[in-house]
């Protein structure tokens, strides 16, 4: 029940620290949106270099919950689909692998937005 929780905590925390340093030490025009884009792309690149999968094996959610994990899922999906389908897989693989995440984000995002109102 509690296996991998400590590695998840430590690795997840450290990945967030990288994000915090980026936000604090760069120009103010570097918004949260820029951080997220950097992390998803970074995760994809690290995944392609074979560096992210070992992190997932070691830290579980500590590597998959940060947005770099989403990038990893995208890249991994694309590479696996290329093995199965060839060139078409490069296009289909990423989106297919992360379909649940994207659909959930759109669906629940929409639901919550129409139910609630901003507090200011």
């Amino acid at each position: 029940m509690f296996e991998q929780i400590i590695p998840a905590f430590v690795v997840g925390g450290l990945i967030c620290v990288i994000g915090q340093l980026l936000m604090d030490l760069t120009k103010p025009s570097f918004t949260p949106a820029h951080v997220l884009v950097l992390f998803v792309t970074g995760g994809a690149v690290l995944s392609a270099l074979g560096l992210y999968e070992p992190l997932v094996k070691f830290a579980g959610a500590g590597a998959t919950v940060p947005l770099s994990g989403f990038g990893h899922a995208l890249a991994k999906g694309a590479m696996e689909a290329v093995d199965e389908r060839g060139l078409l897989g490069a296009f289909s693989g990423g989106v297919e692998a992360t379909a649940v995440g994207i659909a959930v984000a759109v669906f629940f995002g929409y639901l919550v937005s129409i139910i609630f109102n901003p507090k200011g």
Binding site: M23, K27, P28, S29, T31, P118, K119, G120
Partner: protein, 334 residues
């Protein structure tokens, strides 16, 4: 006709306008601040039952304008111009408020300096014999401003230490040619000064040079010195901007012990606003209540109000442009 213009940028009025009445409406955060008791009305929340924050801001401005008219007991038919402005695109809050007021309308945009700007232009209209009475008002609203200029209010992000909190507030004055009340006796219209600040979260640093430039020219034009005023107060330089402006003026041989800022006065440290307040409403509500009260009580005989405005747009900021700023000064005497 003799020119009333003196020096580089200043006008001395031969028929100063009289501030016949004032009215301020603010949100709950301003009501809980150190100046809470000086405002005419405090809303229980920032929307007050209106369908959107934008409608709420317009309604708040209407309340302030109506309030000033009621307090003065002047007939609306005798008010010749309404001068108003706010922070939103196309100064839409003012347009809708003016629709309700029904007075010939001149919309002004000076960002957070709009109050001082309107007081100057309004007095020019009265001094030149163009108006019997001029109604002046501005508003700002924290949530409408964040939505337009910055990030969504429910987004979990951190504000920088130099950022300022936009005041939810509307302030209004009714100016006339005669009567009892403090008078606006001179005005210095500022020119745009841009020293290359690109951080829209550091408005204080962006505006300080413009305010310093206007104060320098004002004092030079009138051959006055800081001691000739009981209070010199900027609109919303905030804690950092106020310091920077004083440093810049020191380099020009000017030292002040009477230089304050509305953005520093309106909130206290416990309200966690970092560098202080900003917004058109800031200078308007602090002047309409706190400062005007002190002038009427005789505590301040001569005040220099220097509105400070950052004249960028959300698009210009995204394109990496720097922030052009301006400072407008008006002299109010009791």
């Amino acid at each position: 006709m003799d020119l009333k213009r003196i020096g580089n940028q200043t006008v001395v009025f031969t028929n100063p306008s009289v501030i016949l009445s004032s009215y301020s409406v603010v949100g709950p955060m301003e009501g809980k601040g150190p100046l809470g008791k000086t405002f005419n009305k405090v809303w229980p929340d920032t929307i007050n039952g209106n369908p959107s924050w934008e409608v709420a801001e317009s309604k708040m401005m209407e309340e302030a304008l109506e309030g000033a008219v009621q307090e003065s007991q002047v007939n609306k038919n005798e008010i010749d111009y309404l001068l108003a402005g706010d922070l939103l695109n196309q100064i839409i809050s003012s347009n809708f408020a003016a629709r309700t007021m029904g007075i010939p309308f001149i919309g002004l945009y000076g960002a957070c300096s709009t109050m001082a700007l309107s007081m100057a232009v309004g007095t020019m209209l009265i001094d030149g014999g163009f108006a019997r009475h001029v109604l002046v008002g501005v508003s700002s609203h924290h949530d409408t401003a964040e939505r337009q200029y910055r990030l969504p209010t429910e987004q979990g992000g951190q504000r920088s230490m130099s950022s300022q909190w936009t005041v939810t507030g509307a302030g209004s004055l009714l100016l006339g040619r005669s009567g009892k009340g403090p008078r606006i006796t001179a005005a210095t219209i500022g020119r745009i000064i841009d020293f290359g600040e690109t951080d829209t979260n550091n408005m204080g640093a962006a505006m300080a040079p413009a305010v310093a430039d206007t104060i320098l020219n004002h004092l030079h034009d009138l051959k006055r010195s800081p001691e000739d005023y009981d209070l010199i107060i900027s609109g919303d330089l905030g804690i950092l901007g106020l310091e920077l402006a004083q440093q810049v003026l020191k380099k020009n041989g000017l030292y002040f012990n009477n230089f304050s800022d509305c953005g520093v006065l309106i909130y206290d440290k416990s309200q966690d606003t970092h560098a202080g307040a900003s917004g058109c409403g800031c200078s308007a509500v602090v002047f309409a209540g706190h400062i005007l009260d002190k002038i009427k009580a005789g505590e301040y005989k001569r005040v220099l109000l220097v509105g400070s405005g950052a004249l960028h747009s959300p698009t210009s900021a995204l394109q990496g442009e720097s922030i052009p700023a301006v400072g407008h000064a008006v002299v109010i005497e009791g």
